[in-house]
């Protein structure tokens, strides 16, 4: 009752169990770490237009434009259980239509081993900042926050908020579309 195949089976099963245990150790060693850090966000140029949104309803909606500076150091976040970070910049604001509006303006993937010391100047947003009405013009409190989603080898995929945030206001006048 003991053959080459049986021994191979038992060794393989034991090695895979050991691998599962090691993976759990890797998860357990990082699950309670604090992955948040400070991010320095500043807006440079802010303007708002009122143009038809042809991608959706063709209604005339507010479209915000902004450029921003971003400075942060994410080197400490990478450990043996972090494969990549998916960073995204979110604008949060209140309009009379909605208590909470969240628009993702920009994102970036950082793989482990890539440069994680970020210092961006005058960055354009990657995605359109559409409001679903006219809630942007003259809005006094738009908050930009940087967050990242951690993609690990094993374990949770938490969304982490950076501790720095930046609030700005949109101008009260629309910029003409002929810009």
């Amino acid at each position: 009752m003991n053959s080459v195949l049986q021994r191979g089976n038992s060794i393989l099963a034991y090695a895979l169990s050991a691998l599962a245990f090691l993976t759990f150790c890797c998860f357990a060693s990082t699950v309670f770490l604090n992955y948040s850090t400070n991010a320095d966000i500043k807006t440079v140029k802010v303007l708002v237009k009122n143009v038809p949104d042809f991608s959706a309803s063709r209604d005339v909606n507010d479209l915000g434009f902004l450029t921003f500076n971003l400075k942060t150091d994410l080197t400490d976040i990478f450990n043996w259980n972090v494969k990549q970070l998916f960073m995204y910049l979110t604008a949060e604001y209140v309009t009379k239509n909605n208590q909470l509006n969240q628009v993702v303006l920009w994102d970036k993937i950082i793989l482990r081993g890539e440069n994680a010391v970020l210092d961006f100047k005058n960055m354009n947003t990657k995605y359109y900042f559409w409001d679903d009405g006219d809630g942007l013009r003259g809005n006094k409190n738009i908050t930009l926050t940087l967050s990242w989603n951690i993609i690990p080898n094993a374990g949770l995929l938490p969304n982490i908020y950076a501790s720095g945030m930046h609030s700005f206001k949109f101008p009260v006048e629309y910029t003409s579309s002929k810009m």
Binding site: N2, S3, V4, R7, G8, S10, I11, L12, Y14, A15, A18, L19, F21, L22, T23, C25, C26, S29, N79, W80, N81, N153
Partner: protein
């Protein structure tokens, strides 16, 4: 064909026990070393590679029936002399 049949493929009982014990020890040892090393340089892939090398080492050392696992063969009892009745009895019992 006779040559292939002449290759011994079995282990004796103590050899089986030793082979299983060795494989467990090797893989556990490589797993512990891999965990420590991987944590030290913060690369989980190194942990996996070290465990895999432990698996291959254990496979080479304990899967083929090396002669060291055949040192204590369980030999047949010497045949009893001329006791035909007892053999028929034992057959009936089965």
């Amino acid at each position: 064909m006779d040559y292939f049949k002449s290759i011994p493929v079995h282990m004796d009982f103590e050899g089986q026990h030793a082979a299983e014990k060795f494989s467990r020890i090797i893989i556990t040892l490589f797993g512990i070393v891999g965990l420590i090393w991987g944590y030290a340089i913060q690369q989980f892939s190194q942990t996996v590679y070290i465990l895999a090398s432990g698996f291959f080492l254990a496979s080479i050392l304990t899967i083929p029936p090396w002669p060291m696992y055949r040192r204590k063969p369980l030999n047949w009892q010497p045949a009893r002399e001329g006791d035909a009745a007892s053999t028929t009895k034992s057959k009936k019992k089965k």
